[in-house]
Symmetry: C2
Subunit: 257 residues, 2 copies
Amino acid sequence: MNPSKPLILITNDDGYEAKGIWALVKAALPHGEVVIITPDTPRSGMSHAITMNVPLRIKKFVNSDGIAYYRTNGTPVDCVKLGQKVILKDRKIDLILSGINHGSNSSVSLLYSGTMAAAIEGSFENIPSIGFSLLDYSSEADFTAAEAVASDIIAKVIANPFPANIALNVNIPKVPLKEIKGYKITRQTKGYWNEDLIENIDAFGTPYYWISGYLVNTDSGTGNCEEALAHHFVSINPVQTDLTAYPVLNDLKFLEK
Amino acid sequence: MNPSKPLILITNDDGYEAKGIWALVKAALPHGEVVIITPDTPRSGMSHAITMNVPLRIKKFVNSDGIAYYRTNGTPVDCVKLGQKVILKDRKIDLILSGINHGSNSSVSLLYSGTMAAAIEGSFENIPSIGFSLLDYSSEADFTAAEAVASDIIAKVIANPFPANIALNVNIPKVPLKEIKGYKITRQTKGYWNEDLIENIDAFGTPYYWISGYLVNTDSGTGNCEEALAHHFVSINPVQTDLTAYPVLNDLKFLEK
């Protein structure tokens, strides 16, 4: 990475209207050259989805602060691919940042998250990549502390060696900056989402369902992301993408033949 | 699991019109009670996406063989959630099957796959879950061998203990049944997708992009899924969802404070 003026690609899954991405842009601008490419609508819960059935479009805009950015009809992962292969196709991206998400991506929320999928997509091509999430789902969330944390972490990542093929899942507690106790390197908390499929009846008498739910934390150990966040630490969880369940390879020998 | 008549939920990501899901239904029917819930359109590349911004619908149909099934406007993961929480809400699902996918889900394709995300969703709630994929993208692919392999694996999984919180990623080579050498328990092949963003111009003179690409295999070791498939073995890769990069936790201590 060129530490004097790294090339930073920024995306998110909440779209260009979200406060979070502009907080991340403000955090990143002092550290390098920033290129922004964001979905044209909110794309939360898109995970690692890519767009296969419709053509992708890119349009350039300027926001009310005079900052140029690109909008696409793609998913967060599409944004990273379009950034790499179209907008910046002849240049080397030094850092990919995603977020700042409105809402937590700790524990298994990581698997559903478009924010983190964009960062993971960067890690596939060995680009240092970070997803940032604030534990506040509100569209009017206060990003003051999260922006300061992001700026701090960006500076440190630029100045230090970054592990190969890794993305960082950074979750920031919903407290004022002075109440943040510090930063902890964590492991992913064991858990699952317990869904309520809320049933309602539409104007034509037909039932419909809306996914709601809550994270069930099944982790009895220490050092995990939920524990750090509960104690008002920023959680930094390094993420890799070999999903092989190595401990059970032998247990499954009965399936071989 | 009730081995005499297990309750089997079947879904896929290619939708109800795909040959693959009906091959899987045929493979599963001799082994238990089958409930089918499938997306109403092809949803390849949807990964672990869930539908958050529109209501979900469920409609019951009967196919031309007289088999009842449900269609939804949701993603493959939504299908599993709707199966668990609406259609079968008072019953215990013994086995979740997804596929048979038209095309490989080996290596990092796993991360983009709606087929495998549906199986992984089942594993979150500790239901034995298997995603099946045939290495043939054609809508007219021959599923004769894949159906026999699926039936064989389903029988074995029902008769044996299944590891907790695991999904199986089963990939089947595109060869006749008699040329399949056997089944191997494998690890995920290291690699990434190298995308071509194909640029074209629409009828109004505006450029658009279409994602294409190919898997780059960067794995120099043995025992991986791509190696097994290349030698005409069925690859069975057990998958878990703690993405923590444990080996680099210490390398990142510079970020703590």
